[in-house]
């Protein structure tokens, strides 16, 4: 397999990387001596595992956590944290290039300093890793074991030969990139989220395979850094789960920014020749070859369930969908629960956190909570961002729920106009002839911040008409939500309320 970057790509000698490793996998760490039977053993030290361990320790349980690699998991080390850090820089470059649009002087000769932005990312990642450090977790009362865990029985597991007994366990081993099986890809070498943040040089030409959240976010970021970027997506639109309009807007933005968008296209073969990677693309009856310097794959994630010896613990699992759990996150072994990406369809850090709390609660107390009661928002951090919560219209119609959608284009929102951030919309779906919010999609530069108001309304069962009574600071982009609520609260054309109001006004 061809390697990317220099042998020192991880910059292990660097100050920030040293600090991060000191936090999330201290080289001198010595595993503790197991303290009899643990109330809870958590397998996996990512977002779900950390929350599970902390939650259990906070109520006085005797807890152990086992991590085979780095505490903090994907999110901290190779996921949300580093990607959002570089996305911020990419937005800045995009803003600099469009300075004239804002009435500012265009900076001369914008030069992208890739090492500097990656260094900023490492600094931020190291800083956030302090929160997720082995030392802090240990100080919170958790016995932290670094090593490979596998179950040895229904209530025991081994960490590199050390046996741990448990009353209950939570498996939170996360997920890893699901690499597409394209002939020649492995031999030619490729990037995933696990190594893309190790890059020390910006690839001159980048091919992104997969139009999901990761592919879209990084394609846009690297394009803004100056990589000539092509993105191929097997489906007719990006982000296939999202609303058509949202995905279409994103495709338009990408094209406008100079990303070569190839929808309905599959990469079928990769060759590594004379220092460059040639990738054959097929779209219906059209075939072509693109030459690139780097390939990034973002085609889904697979749960980490191998090597855990789950059969010995009588825990059912599937290599694709992960550990089988019921609505209480309990596995086929009543002592063992699961949380996060290892068992959930929605593989997000915040769902990992929420599911971990439920798993620990259900494992250690009598009253039980259901995971399907969760209202889960999510956001793709492209520019504009695409955020969603609740049902899509299609899902609602499949459930025979009649839907009315209130749409406010961002070009009707004063703050979006003043900010020059008019691409996007707020769509709030309510059950027809009620104001019960069943879902929403927001496309806006800060959609991720805006969606939380809708999530709150859904969880607290606040109707859309009530949101019309909530004063929103003017001017803010979240005022789009208020505008949608105002339309919902407005009496309909022939309603009695409207005719009474008319009469009153005339009087």
């Amino acid at each position: 397999m061809q390697r990317y970057g220099s042998p020192g790509a991880m910059d292990p000698q660097g100050e920030y990387e040293r600090e991060r490793l000191e936090n999330v996998r201290p080289p001198q760490w010595r595993n503790p001596v197991p303290a009899g039977r643990y109330s809870l053993v958590v397998v996996g030290g990512g977002p779900a595992g950390m929350v599970a361990a902390r939650t259990a320790a906070s109520i006085g349980a005797k807890v152990a956590l086992v991590e085979r690699a780095l505490l903090g998991g994907n999110s901290l080390n190779v996921g949300c944290v580093p990607s959002k850090a570089i996305i911020r820089t990419s937005r800045l470059y995009a803003d600099m290039r469009s300075a004239g649009h804002y009435g500012a002087e265009n900076p001369d000769g914008i030069h992208v300093d890739f090492p500097a932005l990656m260094q900023r990312m490492r600094r931020i990642r190291a800083r956030i890793s302090r929160v997720d450090s082995v030392q802090r977790l240990s100080a919170a009362g958790v016995d932290v074991f670094i090593g490979e865990a596998h179950f040895t029985g229904a209530d025991t597991l081994s960490v590199d030969g050390t046996r741990l007994h448990f009353r209950k366990a939570v498996v939170a081993t996360g997920a890893r990139p699901d690499t597409p099986s394209i002939p020649g890809l492995f031999e030619a070498g490729y990037l995933t989220n696990e190594n893309v943040f190790d890059l020390t040089e910006l690839p001159r030409r980048l091919l992104v395979i997969g139009g999901g959240p990761l592919g879209c976010e990084l394609a846009q970021a690297f394009s803004r850094f100056g990589a000539r970027t092509t993105i191929v997506q097997a489906m007719p639109l990006f982000l296939p789960r999202e609303e058509r309009d949202a995905a279409q807007l994103l495709a338009d933005v990408f094209t406008r920014e100079g990303i070569e968008v190839r929808l309905n296209t599959e990469a079928v073969r990769v060759r590594f020749e004379e220092g460059q990677r040639s990738v054959d693309l097929v779209s219906d009856d059209y075939q072509c070859t693109v030459a690139v310097d780097a390939i990034l794959t973002g085609t889904g994630r697979l749960p980490n369930v191998e090597r855990l010896n789950l059969e010995t613990a009588r825990v059912d699992c599937d290599a694709t969908t992960g550990i089988v759990v019921d609505d209480f996150l309990r596995t086929s072994n009543p002592r063992i629960y699961a949380a996060g990406d290892a068992c959930l369809k929605h593989k997000f850090t915040h769902t990992a956190h929420a599911s971990a709390r439920i798993a620990v609660h259900n494992a250690l107390s009598v009253r039980r909570r259901r995971v399907n009661m969760l209202t889960v928002p999510w956001c793709t951090y492209t520019d504009p961002e695409i955020a969603h919560v609740g049902l899509y219209v299609r899902e609602a119609r499949d459930q025979e729920i009649p839907v009315r959608t209130f749409t406010i284009p961002m070009h009707d929102v004063h703050r979006a106009i003043t900010d020059g951030e008019e691409v996007g919309f707020v769509k709030i779906h309510v059950k027809e002839r009620t104001d019960q919010i069943i879902g929403a999609t927001i496309v806006a530069r800060h959609a991720g911040e805006m969606i939380n108001e809708i999530t709150l309304a859904i969880v607290a069962r606040i109707g859309l008409r009530t949101l019309a009574r909530v004063i929103h600071a003017y001017p803010t982009q979240a005022e789009a939500i208020k505008k949608a609520a105002d339309v919902c609260a407005r009496p309909s054309g022939g309603s009695m309320v409207k005719s009474l109001l008319r009469r009153w006004a005339r009087w």
Partner: protein, 430 residues
């Protein structure tokens, strides 16, 4: 054309409608009845444009622009061609399974541009043929032959095959790769396609394909109007050129207490609202200057060197409120909404013609114009030549506004009635 401000509405519409029909007279190949996609040199035939031509001939006969015999000859030529065409589905054939390739050679009628076997364009062709069949109802050998030809063409369309084992109809097929991946998602002009497919006596749509399609609908309140969302204006016009949707409702529209005609009225008003807002600050847009739809516009090579940092889309389905929008408006689009919003459509048509007289070339609308890319001396950028789809829908919708001729013919069409009923339509004239 005379100064539009001096013309009555009737005279204005008559002039525009007759000029639009003139496209078919001037461009059709009399040997095979085929009509080119547009009036530029060396362009292929679009089968959809042939459908619009077939539907327009009866209008011309009724208005006295051509004799019934000439309309009959032109229609027969096209229908005979399609009956006898190569249906092998080969790369150089004309069609397969009763469907036809989107673009054909104007002389040989064989596939060009490696175009796809197009379901929607075949539906527009078949709908035009149906109109002929309903209009030419005399018991003369030629008119009997015409009706038999239409029946033959319709019966051989294998709509079930176009479902490819799934629920909804596929958009296209190519001999090189099979069915295209694209599907129909959300409301669009395909309602006519589904009605025809459901009305077939030989290969009717199987299962709940129509319901599967309507499950993708989005009912939205936009700019204060509740409507079934569709961005480009033509999606609210093409099926309606043939089918009178006033007062008839399928399950979805019953649920929404609306109908597709009223929906198109609201979609037209939304177009005007968008133009008033003009979020991209293009020149010309206002309450009397609107019409974002499928049309020809400037392309990127034009902006190269002008320093204008924007994308231009050439021929594209422009729409509101999410675009694409590059400042290009189809001047004819309001007239294609004439039956839905007569007053504002006429106001818009008059204003645009007064402001941009260059958008009419020999009294016939150019496909699109772009004032932002214009100049004081040359006027707006204007698309060259004319496009058949634009002219066809203008002829039909002006006629529906004036006499409801097309709607009357199709209201009486047993296949359309059966298709609508099978789609769940009830009420009104049905």
């Amino acid at each position: 054309m005379t100064d539009v401000s001096e013309l009555t509405d009737e005279a204005l519409l008559d002039g525009i409608q007759r000029a639009a029909f003139g496209y078919f007279l001037q461009t059709a190949n009399l040997d095979n009845g085929l009509v080119p996609d547009n009036s530029r040199p060396s362009v292929p035939v679009s089968i959809a444009v042939v459908g619009f031509a077939l539907a327009s001939y009866p209008v011309a006969v009724e208005r006295g622009w051509i004799a019934r015999a000439e309309a009959l000859d032109r229609s027969l030529a096209a229908l005979r061609f399609f009956r006898d065409s190569d249906q092998s589905g080969g790369p150089n054939a004309t069609g397969y399974k009763g469907f036809y390739y989107h673009f054909l050679d104007p002389h040989t009628g064989t596939r060009v541009w490696r175009s796809e076997l197009s379901m929607i364009d075949t539906a527009l062709l078949i709908a035009g043929a149906m109109t002929s069949s309903m209009y030419f109802d005399a018991n003369t050998p030629e008119e009997i032959e015409l009706r038999e030809l239409v029946d033959t063409l319709f019966r051989r369309v294998d709509w079930q095959w176009a479902q490819d084992g799934g629920g909804t109809l596929k958009q296209g097929w190519k001999p090189e790769c099979g069915f295209l991946h694209y599907g129909w998602e959300g409301y669009n002009e395909a309602i006519l396609l589904y009605v025809l497919a459901l009305g077939s006596p030989t290969h009717p749509l199987e299962g709940d394909g129509y319901r599967a399609w309507t499950a993708t609908y989005q009912w939205e309140n936009l700019y204060g109007y509740d409507f079934l969302y569709g961005g480009p204006l033509f999606v609210h016009q093409f099926s309606h050129a043939w089918i009178d949707f006033r007062g008839i409702r399928d399950r979805f529209m019953r649920e929404k207490r609306c109908d597709y005609f009223e929906n198109s009225r609201r979609a037209t008003l939304i177009q005007r609202e968008y133009a008033k807002r003009n979020p991209n600050e293009f020149c010309g847009y206002d309450e009397h200057c609107w019409g974002l739809t499928a049309c020809d516009g400037p392309s990127d090579d034009l902006s190269a060197g002008t320093g204008v940092p924007r994308r231009l889309f050439g021929y594209a389905a422009r729409g509101v409120p999410y675009g694409p929008d590059d400042g290009t408006i189809a001047g004819w689009a309001p007239l294609a909404s004439l039956p839905f919003t007569p007053q504002i459509a006429l106001e818009a048509a008059r204003h645009m013609l007064l402001r941009y007289p260059e958008i009419l070339i020999e009294s016939r609308y150019a496909s699109g114009f772009n004032s932002t890319l214009g100049s004081p001396d040359r006027g707006a950028w204007v698309s060259q030549g004319n496009f058949g789809l634009d002219q066809g829908v203008v002829v039909m919708m002006i006629e529906n506004h004036r006499t409801e001729l097309i709607w009357r013919l199709m209201r009486a069409c047993p296949i359309i009635r059966a298709g609508l009923r099978r789609a769940g339509f009830r009420g009104g004239w049905l």
